[in-house]
Structure formats: structure tokens, C-alpha cells
């Protein structure tokens, strides 16, 4: 009797969890079904998950007729510049914070950590100053500059994160290498980097997810022919004449890389994203 009852309650709970999941994923089903809907039928009032006369025309339009590849090229350029400069400045900084003592170290690290929780809002607050400053030094409309700005915005979190990661590597490794006469740079490059790969991997994923979806700064600093994919999508949708199916199709293609990355890194991400919470 008790067993039957517990099986029944299991079924009810699981059924409920599935139902809730279905509700939560409706927006994603919906955008997918709008992408394969012919344009005219968007305005019908019928409700269906899989549209009657589905077609891949919108995807065809995105890949062969739209400016998708132009935007993608800009996005990838910004991404590479931002990711490389972020790693180049953050890894040595994290090493410095982890292995050396200097005045103001703890205060700086604490401010980095607190600031990192509010970077999104801070970048909007500083946007006017940034925009006019970039105009003044005549670097407006430069993809490289946008990449560097993104890298700068990653510094508080990534330096802090990598520093915590490097702290977990025993100092004996450094001491041994340094006793053998290696310089600090050699030590960082040949000894620490190979051990710290998993931490750098998580940092790379976090930076990638942030950069790939940033549109606020880019929309202010870039002109239309330099738009990255997110900016292009935001402006595309802002116009009323934009067919929703084309917008949906372009967005889906744009999202594929990050979704794949997200699930590949699921195991590591959990650790990376919640480290702040567990630290407390």
C-alpha cells in the first residue's frame, strides 16, 4: 500500500515537473515555430506548435540573401579581439594577485569582486562618458576599440575568478621552478598555465557568453555597417516592417554556437558561476 502510494506521488510530482518545464520552454518552441512559418501566416489567430505549411525559406534568406555573414564577421572579429586581450591582461594579473603581496591588494580584489556583480548596470551608467570620450579621441566606429572595451569590462570578474583558481594550485610548483632558475614569466608560461587550464577554460566560456550577447555598448559605438549580430538583431526587430520569421531564423542561427558551448561546459560552468555564492 505504502509503496503504491509513493509511486503515485512520484508520478504526480514528475508529471508536474514536466508540465512546468513545458510551460517554461514555450517561448523557445514558439520562436522556433515562427521561424519555419511562412510570413503571411504569422497573423492568423490559430494556435499550433508545428505550423501547417512549414518551410525553411527564412533560414535560406538569412544564409544566402541577408547581411548575416557581414554581421557575423564583425561579431567574430570583436569576439577574437576581446577574448585574446582579456586573457592576455587577466592571466598575469591573476598570477600577480595570487602569488605576490603588495599594498592595497585585498582592497583591490574586494572592489573587483563587488564591481563584477554590477558590471552590466555600470556599463550603462558610464556609457555617455565612454561615448563622448571615444569620439574625442577619434576612435568611434572602430571594432577593435569595442573589443578592447569588452575586454576591459571583463577584468573585475575574470581577474578575481582566475586569482581564486590559481590560489588552489600549491606554491611548491612555483618554488621548484624558480629555484631551477626560471624567471617569473617562464614560470607562468611553462608551469602555471598548463596546470591552470581548467580555470582558464571556464574564464574563456564566461567571457565568450558575455561578449557574444553584448549589444548596448556596441549599438552606441558602431555605425550600421559595423554592427555585430546582437546589435543587428535588436535594430532589425525594432523596425515594424521586419518579418518576424526572418528575425527568428537569424536569431536561431546566431544562438547555436553559444547554446552548444553552454551545454558542453555545463559541468564546469556550474562551478564557475556559483563560486561567488559558495565563497560566502
Amino acid at each position: 500500500m505504502i509503496k503504491a502510494k509513493s509511486i503515485l506521488s512520484s508520478i504526480i510530482v514528475s508529471f508536474f515537473a514536466f508540465f512546468l518545464l513545458f510551460v517554461l520552454l514555450i517561448p523557445l518552441f514558439w520562436v522556433f515555430s515562427s521561424a519555419i512559418k511562412p510570413y503571411g501566416s504569422l497573423y492568423t489567430t490559430e494556435l499550433y506548435i508545428f505550423p501547417a505549411n512549414a518551410s525553411l525559406k527564412a533560414f535560406q534568406w538569412v544564409l544566402f540573401e541577408s547581411k548575416f555573414w557581414e554581421y557575423a564577421k564583425n561579431s567574430i572579429t570583436v569576439y577574437i579581439i576581446a577574448l585574446l586581450s582579456s586573457l592576455i591582461v587577466n592571466i598575469p594579473a591573476a598570477y600577480g594577485f595570487s602569488r605576490f603581496k603588495f599594498i592595497g591588494k585585498e582592497g583591490l580584489l574586494n572592489s573587483y569582486f563587488i564591481l563584477s556583480q554590477f558590471m552590466g548596470g555600470m556599463s550603462v551608467i558610464g556609457l555617455i562618458g565612454l561615448y563622448l570620450f571615444i569620439i574625442k579621441i577619434k576612435l568611434i566606429n572602430s571594432i577593435v576599440v569595442v573589443g578592447l572595451i569588452y575586454a576591459a569590462n571583463t577584468i573585475p570578474y575574470i581577474t578575481w575568478y582566475l586569482k581564486t583558481y590559481l590560489d588552489s594550485i600549491p606554491k611548491d610548483f612555483d618554488e621548484a621552478a624558480l629555484l631551477d632558475g626560471a624567471s617569473f614569466i617562464q614560470n607562468l608560461w611553462y608551469v602555471i598555465l598548463p596546470i591552470a587550464k581548467p580555470g582558464i577554460f571556464v574564464a574563456t566560456i564566461i567571457v565568450s557568453l558575455i561578449i557574444w550577447s553584448e549589444w548596448i555598448i556596441a549599438s552606441v559605438l558602431l555605425s550600421p555597417d559595423q554592427f555585430t549580430l546582437p546589435v543587428a538583431l535588436v535594430t532589425l526587430q525594432g523596425r515594424w516592417e521586419t518579418p518576424w520569421n526572418k528575425f527568428a531564423a537569424m536569431s536561431i542561427i546566431y544562438c547555436i554556437p553559444v547554446i552548444i558551448l553552454f551545454f558542453l561546459s555545463q559541468k564546469y560552468m556550474e562551478e564557475g558561476m556559483t563560486i561567488g555564492a559558495l565563497k560566502e
Binding site: 506521488s9 504526480i12 510530482v13 514528475s14 508536474f16 515537473a17 512546468l20 517554461l24 517561448p27 514558439w30 497573423y43 489567430t45 494556435l47 586581450s85 591582461v89 587577466n90 598575469p92 594579473a93 600577480g96 605576490f100 603588495f102 563587488i114 556583480q117 554590477f118 552590466g120 548596470g121 555600470m122 550603462v124 551608467i125 558610464g126 556609457l127 555617455i128 565612454l130 561615448y131 563622448l132 570620450f133 575586454a151 576591459a152 577584468i155 573585475p156 550577447s213 549589444w215 546582437p230 538583431l233 535588436v234 526587430q237 518576424w244 528575425f247 527568428a248 536569431s251 546566431y254 547554446i259 553552454f262 555545463q266 556550474e270 558561476m273 561567488g276 555564492a277 559558495l278 560566502e280
Partner: protein, 294 residues
Amino acid sequence: MKKPLWRSSIAILMILPSILLFSFFFLYPICYSIYLSFTNVNFFNFIKGFDFIGFDNYRKLILEGKFFTPLIRTLTFSVTSVSLKVIVGLFLSLLFSLPQLKIKKILYPLYLLPWAVPWFFLVMIWKGMFSQDFGLINQTIRMFGGNGIDWLFNKNNAFLAYNIVEAYLVYPFFISTMLAAIKGISQEIIEAAMMDGANSWKRFWWIIVPLIKKPFQWATLTTTIASFMIFGVPYLLNKGGPSNENEFLLIFGYKKAFELGRYGYASAFMVTTLTILLIIILLFNKISKLAKDE
């Protein structure tokens, strides 16, 4: 004696590039904003030259009450949206802590799926779903014989829509934070509690809640501050409309600068927001320090 000095100069060399990049593209622009907030700079006189006008922008902000309305609106939103997020987050972690739920391993990544999608795209999907004519929500309402709701062109409905979308964006963060904490509890403890006759609710309250308390406080604090700096969701849904009735602090400042070109005035607005934000962050720092000492 020479060695420590040499070591710390190496440390500075390693940190310097990051400090320079950060100062140049993040700190300096914010300082420049502060300077601009004391000038009459706008779209037309920025290149030709603008004048220092002291506290005029701030005086205007405060005397005309232009700061007060968005501030109250933002605080209201923080309260409503954080409450909603906390309720949804607690509910979902309760669901996932139930031993009756057998397929957690499959369900968990699927629940996190929206997190994998860039947030601005989710907001735009919701914009489509809220659309008057072809949006899924109104289609569903009509299917059941109701009239469609004017979601984004009505002040209160739009406010409700922001809350729904914000909760949708944040729930995966809550679940993953809570579950990282719950994972530490062994299934045996939960089952032992059940043997003792603890029902689900008691088990949740006495076993789960104490364990998720810290991460939960953490998640609540960060979302509170994130709600205070709300920008993307209302901006993408209807630009804080209809007709500016739902402008929050950052949206107000952004629109004054990039739609009207009133850079000096908008900077004063942003700097005032920043000041309030810093006060909140300092309090937040105090609270998290207190939590650490506990």
C-alpha cells in the same frame, strides 16, 4: 632586503596592463561622465565647445522632480520583481529537493536551457509573445474566448510584463545557486527525515532551508541590485513606454543622452544614480561581511 621590493615590482608589472586597460576604458569614462555632468554639453556643442555650469544640471534634476519619479518607479520595480523572483526560485528549489522527483538528471539541464540563450534574444521573444495580434499569449486568451490584452501599450500591463520577463531570465540562476547548495545534502539524510515522519514541508523547512540560506541571501542581494539597475528588459520590450510612463533610472538617463542629445543633463542623472548605487553597494558589502562573521 632587496628581494621583497623586487618581487613587488614584478607583481606590479604583471598587474599593470590590466589596470591600464581597465582605467582607460572603464574608470576614465566614468570620471569623464562626472566632469560632463557639471557642463552644458549637448549634441550640438560637443565639438565646438561647451561651458562649465556648476551644479545647474543637478539643481534642475532635483527642483523639477525629474529624478524622483523614475527613482520611485525603480524602487517599486525592485520590490515587486525581487519578490516574484524569490517566490519562483524557492518554489523551484523545493520542487527539485523532493525525493519523489526521480528524473532530476534529465530535467535539470532542460530547466537551465533558457540560460544558454542570450538574454536579449529571450526578451525579444517575449516581446513577440506579448504582441497584441500574433503574440502567443493573446492567441491563447482568445482561444479560450477572452479578449486580447494590450500588454505593451498599457502602463500597468507593461510593468507586469517586465516582472514576468525578469523572473524568467533569472530563475535558472536561482535554481543553479540553490541546487549547488542542496547537492551537499545526502539523499540518506532526507530519507531518514522522512522515516521520522517529517512531511515534505517540514523537511524543506528544517533541512533544505538552513543549507540554502547563505547562497539564497546572496542570490537575493545580487538580484536586488540588478533590479535597481534595470535597463535591458524594459528598453527592448517598449523603451520604457507607453509614452515614457515606465521609465526607470537608467532608461531615463540613456534616452535623454542618446535620443535627445542632452549629454550634460543625462550625465548628472547617471552620476546621481551611481551615487545611490554606491551607497547600496556599501551597505551590501557591510551585510556580506556581517554574514561572513556570523
